[in-house]
Subunit: 411 residues, 2 copies
């Protein structure tokens, strides 16, 4: 995540806006920071920093505070930090087996979050939207949603068209061509921007900004649940693909004549390594859901041979898929989230064996496979980052119009 | 390939250099162009264009010429074009079964090219370098290599470390950790910059700039020969990976328990679809090389059942691998080159069948699979583009030091 600023020595409006953005982004991602650290991170001069910090402070987006005593002689540099309630976003997550909502402030502060677990079956758009509206009302009761939020970010377990946030296809929800952003705008009675994106893409963004991958430019985030989602970061940028459907790792063929997949193909990665495959291999009902998975993991912990063999076999196929990603993408890091993070202690060795056996030595020397630290909340955290992005990209625009920002009606 | 220029209304040196770059790049890629077209392409003002074109003309990099009569009343806009011998690069290609060299000028003009076919077996670095030196001497005899070339670009059938151009691993050449750039610099007695990169990455660059993919931002270029190489473009930028080893599509596992691969794994894509697999399936000697492939294609043309069945089966597995790439990358375009372009008429249908069956509908609606138009020369053309890139990125630097550019000794 580059925060290098433009500094051409001119005072043009364009340059000022770009510099304000670099500064606010640094505070949002890494703050609190001293002015000296801001100079180092943004490449701006000390006098530019002083003037820009002043603007952010005046707009209520940043604050300066006395530094902790450093023990070094001389007057220590004051710390600049973002103000969490200077800008707030609403983050929503529509997963197969739960919906969740959070109110998140500048700097990543989570003011409150709520979730509803639900049966793992096809759900209507209407019931999902009702649940989200209930969650938002509950957040409002708990902490009060500000009159003005910067935006709403929504993570969805499905393919989302980049141009307009249309949920093109969510096989595990049973949805096709759902204009979720528009529906939510109406249900929440708001006209703030609503940004909809794929859950794994947002999980990758969360890992990059708030998780295991800060400072990493090339990573693959793999999120196992009922299906397997993927979020890919290439050269510091999300791999969206031509229309926004990139990163569908769950549908790489790894065993062309394997199990039938919901997508219509056979031997997709997710049919070999998803929750249902794991449960079936261990002799549990494939539709047993999270409870069955927990029972399986408990049995493995007690040395149950069939559970251990199922985890080993699934681990082997998780490894095969990771090998394809590593040879293709040459990432620094592969982060396994969701179910895969939960079973990581059992799959670590078979995954490493496949990597050892199949990844080209040059890429193998570099890559690490680690479990996500953000757990099931990764997509929700990514949704908050997505909703904050327009403010970070051009704070001057938001400062200028902040008096006229449309309101999010309390639902 | 963005050629949008920075125009802040200031006359700073930084802005001037960026604008000069945008202008020269537009002429190199799309010229000749009228001044009006340059305004449209770069976003610069007409007066900026006039002044910058003047600089390029003075430096011998561009020329203006009278326009063709347009039939439209008024004085027609003069055409600006790049001057081919205003800047020249040397492009080299080290493939398994041939080496090639070309002298290429600004705008992509190929002044001359030469190649040497060779046996398809492990070759020493020394013999390869000798062959390249011979080719360069022969180009010099034919058209005369200018005293000053901008750079040398080298395409290699292997994994190349981005940072220093080290050929880390080229299994089909039998090379490990070869500092090819340094060796060539010494053999050619030159100190101009030598840029070494993977052949398929350069093939993708060539397709993007001079081939089937101009104007496309997301593409996968797949280059089948003995092995299978890949060059991936994501959001208009080459996917290099963390260390430069990205795009190794040949080693995606598509049939985990399949044939043994040279890399040590089994069931890699290239072991299922490379030249040897095709020849073996059709009953030809797997090491029969290009001649055997041509015989096989001729037999298929005459309706030979075994040849047709082999092409069908290989086409099916080519399709399976393409499915993985499309679901992962959501590209606009998949370009098949080398062997795959040669057999394209026979594999088109089985590839389409796999895509129809296995690619998610959203991505399927978008993607096209087409044969390369550049043929085996794609990597060589890409090598020329790579070598030209420093000039295109900062023409002012090159103009300033052009009197002192190091010479390429005629070999």
């Amino acid at each position: 995540v580059g925060t290098r600023a433009v500094d051409l020595g001119q005072r043009s409006e364009t340059v000022r806006r770009a510099n304000l953005s670099a500064l606010l982004r640094a505070l949002h991602l890494a703050g609190p920071l001293s002015r000296s650290e801001l100079v180092a991170r943004t490449g701006l001069t000390r006098s530019s920093i002083r003037s820009l910090v002043g603007e952010l402070v005046a707009a209520g987006l940043a604050a300066e505070e006395a530094p902790a005593p450093s023990g070094i002689p001389g007057r220590p540099s004051p710390l600049v930090r973002s103000v969490p309630d200077g800008a707030t976003v609403l983050a929503l997550d529509v997963a197969v087996d739960r919906v969740a909502a959070a109110l998140v402030g500048l700097g990543g502060t989570v003011f409150a979050s709520r979730e509803i677990d639900r049966a793992r079956e096809a759900v209507t758009v209407e019931s999902t939207v009702d649940e989200l509206v209930t969650l938002v009302a509950s957040l409002d009761d708990e902490v009060g949603i500000p009159d003005r939020v910067v935006g709403v970010g929504v993570a969805v377990a499905g393919l989302v068209r980049r141009a307009d946030g249309m949920v093109r296809m969510a096989p595990n929800l049973g949805w096709t061509d759902v204009p979720l952003g528009a529906i939510l705008g109406s249900a929440l009675a708001t006209d703030v921007p609503i940004h909809v994106a794929n859950e794994a893409d947002l999980g990758a963004l969360a890992e990059l900004r708030r998780g295991t991958a800060t400072g990493v430019d090339d990573l693959a985030f793999i999120f196992g649940e009922v299906g397997v989602g993927g979020g890919i970061i290439v050269g510091g940028q999300p791999l969206t693909g031509a229309a926004g459907y990139g990163g569908e790792v769950g549908h790489m063929p790894v065993r062309a004549d394997g199990r039938a997949c919901r997508c219509g193909s056979t031997g997709c990665w997710e049919t070999e390594v998803g929750e249902e495959a794991l449960l079936a291999l261990a002799g549990y009902p494939p539709d047993g859901g999270r409870a069955a998975v927990e029972a399986l993991i408990a049995a493995a912990g007690e040395g149950d041979a069939r559970a251990l063999a199922a985890l080993e076999e699934v681990g082997r196929w998780i490894g095969v898929g990771i090998v394809g990603l590593v040879n293709l993408l040459d990432p620094d890091l592969v982060i396994v989230g969701g179910l895969f993070a939960r079973i990581h202690p059992y799959i670590r060795r078979p995954v490493e064996e496949q990597i050892e056996r199949r990844v080209l030595p040059a890429s193998r020397a570099l890559v690490r496979v680690v479990p996500s630290l953000l757990g099931v909340d990764a997509p929700l955290i990514g949704a908050a980052e997505l909703a904050m992005e327009p403010l970070l990209s051009d704070p001057a625009y938001w400062i200028g119009r902040s008096r006229g920002t449309p309101e999010l009606a309390s639902a």
